[in-house]
Symmetry: D2
Subunit: 140 residues, 4 copies
């Protein structure tokens, strides 16, 4: 199974359907059942002390799995998150972007499940891990 | 065990230490091992279609447990989220604030665990549920 | 919405469809969107030191939500767990049964979501909390 | 950082400290920050229809991360699971053993976090994924 959307068409979709957040993210890579997404860290993503906030990391994990699914099934805006389990493991590096590596383990008719590892750009040890379930709307 | 911070002192703490987000939330109630927090839903919290975004609901769950903990142990800014499991169960009502009911099940020396139910203001069925673990920094 | 199965019919279903484990559990109470289930703790449920093992607590949480769902929708053996998040918060009391209080937050057409609090019999502070998602097979 | 316990010493530890379950598992491989563990599926692990039960998969995920931690820090029986999020994605193949691939993402002073993918022996698509947090007792 190959992706049916590439970096360009995913970024166009994001800009059109999610204009409020599309500027925060850039898609670095799209592969079979996975993708790599960058959070372009800005003032609004930070907590006191300069580290990226939990909700910003959640948002990055969420959008990464969403994009990995859309890359495989095409642009279905109604695909929604039903569940997320996220572990915050290390303090992100101040001033560094975050890089999410998303991987789908299941892409079923109605549910998709994937894992995300989030890194501070340039670091080896992940700052967070997350797993998410998405509900896929029926065809038609 | 009784709360050591009330509504007023929690709101003052939030305004001082989290100025970027404190305007988004108001504390409705503080009880033993729990609190009720309102997300004053604004344009920036919305997804296309007018419902509140997942990251905004995550942020509400996160801040609610944080405040429930601080109410019991006093203002420790270093208390950090280590884990969250969140289920998105219904579409929030467009245009309505979200109300989070947070309850601590454990408040240990190093870890605290709590549950949150999130409702669209005025509705009976919750839109999301979350459980969170916080790591509490050692004294001294 | 009222339960369509009572204690007696749930226990009969369990004995028939899950003979391997039905002897471990007894149903204490069935209410709207919830139930109370006892794990009759025996040697096989214990870890060294005499406390109940994690897998035994997982099994109790799992069966409790399953029974709460069946009580509402009737006996559908194909209903399956898709997700569980569980927090182990305190050591269970040695020699005491475990009591699970299960509550459904959502009972949709295809997904059900509920929370469970597990107590050592006679104690006030829960030993574990869990949330589970079940997938409900289509009718017909 | 290298493992301080190998396959042999882990299996000896398991047999000594967890005699009730050690016969169910065999350790296939130990690597830096990870291991591979087999659940030798027997009658007692099965649900009606012949698939492995959820609690058995939970037990496999749990023991795999436990062994991955012990391999790195040495035999500390007091290390305990504090949290697990598990997704059941596919029906295990009837009659096949389960193989768990465990990987630690964090091995801190007080908390360890890892991911597990569980496969039916010989299959490419995982039947379950889990992430677990363990609390590590202080030295001394």
């Amino acid at each position: 199974m190959k992706p049916v959307m590439d970096k360009g068409s995913l970024e166009k979709f994001l800009a059109q359907d999610f204009p409020q957040v599309s500027g925060d993210f850039s898609i670095e890579d799209v592969v079979d059942m996975g993708c790599v997404v960058r959070l372009k860290v800005a003032e609004k993503h930070l907590r006191p002390g300069g580290t990226v906030s939990g909700p910003s990391m959640f948002a990055l994990a969420d959008v990464s799995i969403y994009l990995a699914i859309l890359a495989m099934i095409g642009p279905k805006a109604l695909t929604v998150t039903t569940n997320c389990a996220i572990d915050f493991m290390r303090k992100p590096v101040a001033g560094a972007d975050l890089i999410a590596h998303a991987k789908l383990h299941k892409l079923g008719r109605v549910l998709a499940v994937g894992d995300v590892l989030i890194y501070s750009d340039g670091q080896d040890a992940p700052v967070a891990r997350a797993s998410l379930t998405y509900s896929i709307p029926p065809k038609g």
